[in-house]
């Protein structure tokens, strides 16, 4: 297939982006060898935020219940691991499958409503699952959490040890693969239709496209990604707590996404890293100061940078290059 100049340029830019993520990830590996467990959690949450971006940023469906998908993946992988399936790659696939099924269910329910009822449905679903996971303590461990997993070495070679080196590198590899696939998905005609549905649903339906199956498909993809994130957290920490399927996780994911910038896959990553790094530092000092800070940051974003950090950076870059172009003329 002959490639146009612009297509090859975007592919080049994508490769550059992936290389940059890999570089930052490896830098984290070398710079913070004592905090790899935390960094692995960042990667798993980054997958969650990426999955939320697919729904919020590309489909325009506001959701405060993404934790349902994340938790489904975490519990599925955890339960499978306790019952003797220990291959980490297989566990990730199980988590992805559970997330996809949950995404299908959640999408089928949420897409029945619009606006506020839709938002409320997303909250109700995650709360319902939270209570169900708490109640079914014989399977999920209830409020004590699910423990006692011991994943087998990755590819039969790399042990999941106390330092979490293999877990981190495994997570980083997973993130790179998912990110590459999502770049492809969001740029495909299917991704464009989703974007169109966000911008102008009436016009898309006038083009003869029925919105429900398109959005449902995106929900399934999003569930897959979130489920992988949950499974990664389960493998890395070897504990699945009730908080993995909770409103707080879902709300935090939304805050991270908004901080980074909605509708930007890079924004999801930037937001996650900045939010979790800040939380790591400030919440250790005083958790309530952390809440005040998050609240103030949210208000500031809405007032001054509605497109998030990545959008604002983009705008700045565009302004700078335009100035230079003017000056050069």
């Amino acid at each position: 297939m002959p490639m146009t100049a612009s297509a090859s340029r975007t592919v080049g830019r994508d490769l550059l982006g992936l290389a940059l993520i890999a570089l930052v990830g490896l830098a984290g590996y070398w710079l913070f060898p004592d905090n790899l467990a935390f960094l692995t959690r960042v990667i798993s949450v980054a997958l969650l935020v990426l999955s939320l971006d697919l729904i919020v940023g590309y489909c325009g469906v506001a959701s405060l219940g993404q934790g349902a998908l994340y938790g489904a993946g975490a519990y599925a992988a955890g339960i499978a691991c306790v019952h003797g399936i220990t291959d980490p790659v297989l566990l990730i696939l199980i988590g992805a499958g559970a997330g996809a099924i949950m995404g299908l269910l959640m999408g089928a329910i949420m897409l029945r409503a619009h606006g506020l009822p839709q938002l409320v449905l997303s909250i109700a679903i995650v709360q319902l699952l939270h209570e169900a996971a708490n109640k079914a303590s014989s399977i999920t461990g209830g409020s004590d959490g699910l423990s006692g997993m011991s994943p087998a070495p990755l590819f039969g070679v790399f042990e999941f040890d106390l330092w979490g080196r293999s877990a981190y590198l495994f997570g980083l590899g997973l993130l790179l693969i998912v990110f590459a696939v999502l770049r492809f998905v969001t740029r495909s005609p299917f991704g464009m239709v989703c974007r169109g549905l966000k911008e102008d649903p009436l016009r898309i339906s006038a083009l003869g496209i029925y919105a429900f199956p398109v959005l449902l498909k995106m929900f399934v993809i999003s569930g897959t990604v979130a489920g992988m994130g949950g499974a990664l957290a389960a493998i890395a920490t070897q504990v699945v707590g009730l908080d993995s399927v909770s409103f707080e996780v879902s709300a935090n994911a939304l805050v991270m996404l908004v901080l980074g910038g909605i509708g930007h896959l890079y924004g999801a990553l930037i937001g996650t890293v900045i939010f979790m790094a800040l939380e790591h530092v400030v919440a250790a000092i005083n958790p309530f100061h952390w809440m005040t800070l998050v609240g103030a940051v949210l208000i500031a974003i809405v007032l001054f940078a509605p497109r998030g950090l990545s959008g604002t950076l983009d705008e700045l870059a565009r302004m700078l290059t335009r100035d230079r172009w003017r000056a050069g003329r």
Binding site: L116, L119, L128, V255, L293, V294, A296
Partner: protein
């Protein structure tokens, strides 16, 4: 029989507390189309002010309630002017973020000022004694809460259906641009209804403090409940909100009595079912 009766009284009292707090949210949401997640924060502020006035300053309960209502309105006015004004007419996501941000700030500040402990609001003697109904005795406080809920419902009904301001309010809800063109000062209507909504939230927070205890996470813990009630009832509809509060209150309290280890499971199950069957809420208007 005793159980059925006490479930009934508790469910009614709980439903009424939910109603008093969330009716203001319902009205502002129907009127200004703002998804206000910070509504619970105002109820919490009311509770804190009342607790401070009644417990630390030793004022009478009625005075504490008045102080709480007006104090909360005073606090809410600059918030509305500076923050809410910016998100009227914006997409829901923006409103959700702004109001979650406000909620988080209020939680952090409340904890900094009042500490993380539970705050009680001492009730007068007359509310503490049990009342005999002839065949059963009930806690006077429960009856007081139910009476407050009924009074608020009736008062609001009169205010909206029978006064000149109510006519303007309904006109602005139906079509703000047309109402403005006909000479209704929609800005004033918005401001007054926001103040009334916040005042009612504070009132409900104080009156219901025994059922929904006042602590810094109050705003976050019940935020979802209030939002759910409004959505189930249909934004902007008083009978809808009343029906939703009584229905969900009854389901929640009954489930807590009979199957306590399920927690909120049946509450949220009912919410999902109702929203799926009535996507606009029980009595929401078609758009």
């Amino acid at each position: 029989m005793q159980t059925v009766f006490s479930i009934g009284v508790d469910a009614l009292a709980y439903g009424m507390v939910l109603f008093v707090i969330s009716i203001g949210l319902s009205v502002t949401m129907g009127l200004m189309r703002v998804v206000n997640l910070a509504h619970g924060a105002f109820a919490m502020i009311g509770g804190y002010i009342a607790s401070y006035a009644a417990r630390d300053l030793g004022l009478a309960y009625a005075v504490a309630v008045m102080l709480a209502v007006f104090g909360t309105i005073l606090i809410a006015i600059p918030v509305e002017r500076l923050l809410y004004r910016r998100v009227y007419g914006q997409p829901e996501l923006t409103q959700v973020l702004m109001t979650i941000g406000i909620t988080f700030c209020v939680i952090g500040i409340a904890n900094y000022v009042f500490g993380p402990t539970l705050k009680t609001i001492p009730t007068p003697e007359s509310l503490r004694a049990p009342v005999s109904l002839g065949f059963r005795t009930v806690s006077a406080h429960r009856l007081f809460v139910i009476a407050c809920g009924a009074a608020v419902a009736l008062g609001l009904w009169y205010f909206i259906e029978r006064t000149a301001f109510g006519v303007k309010l309904r006109a602005s809800v139906d079509n703000a641009a047309m109402a403005a063109a006909l000479g209704v000062k929609t800005e004033v209507v918005y401001a007054v209804s926001f103040a009334v909504a916040v005042g009612l939230a504070a009132f409900g927070g104080v009156v219901g403090a025994e059922l929904l205890p006042i602590e810094p996470y109050y705003a976050l813990r019940y935020m979802v409940t209030f939002l759910v009630v409004v959505s189930v009832g249909g934004a902007g509809s008083i009978p809808g909100a009343l029906a939703a509060c009584l229905l969900l209150g009854a389901i929640d309290v009954t489930a807590r009595y009979l199957v306590p280890d399920f927690g909120n499971f049946f509450f949220y199950l009912a919410v999902i079912l109702v929203v799926c069957v009535f996507p606009r809420g029980l009595m929401g208007r078609a758009q």
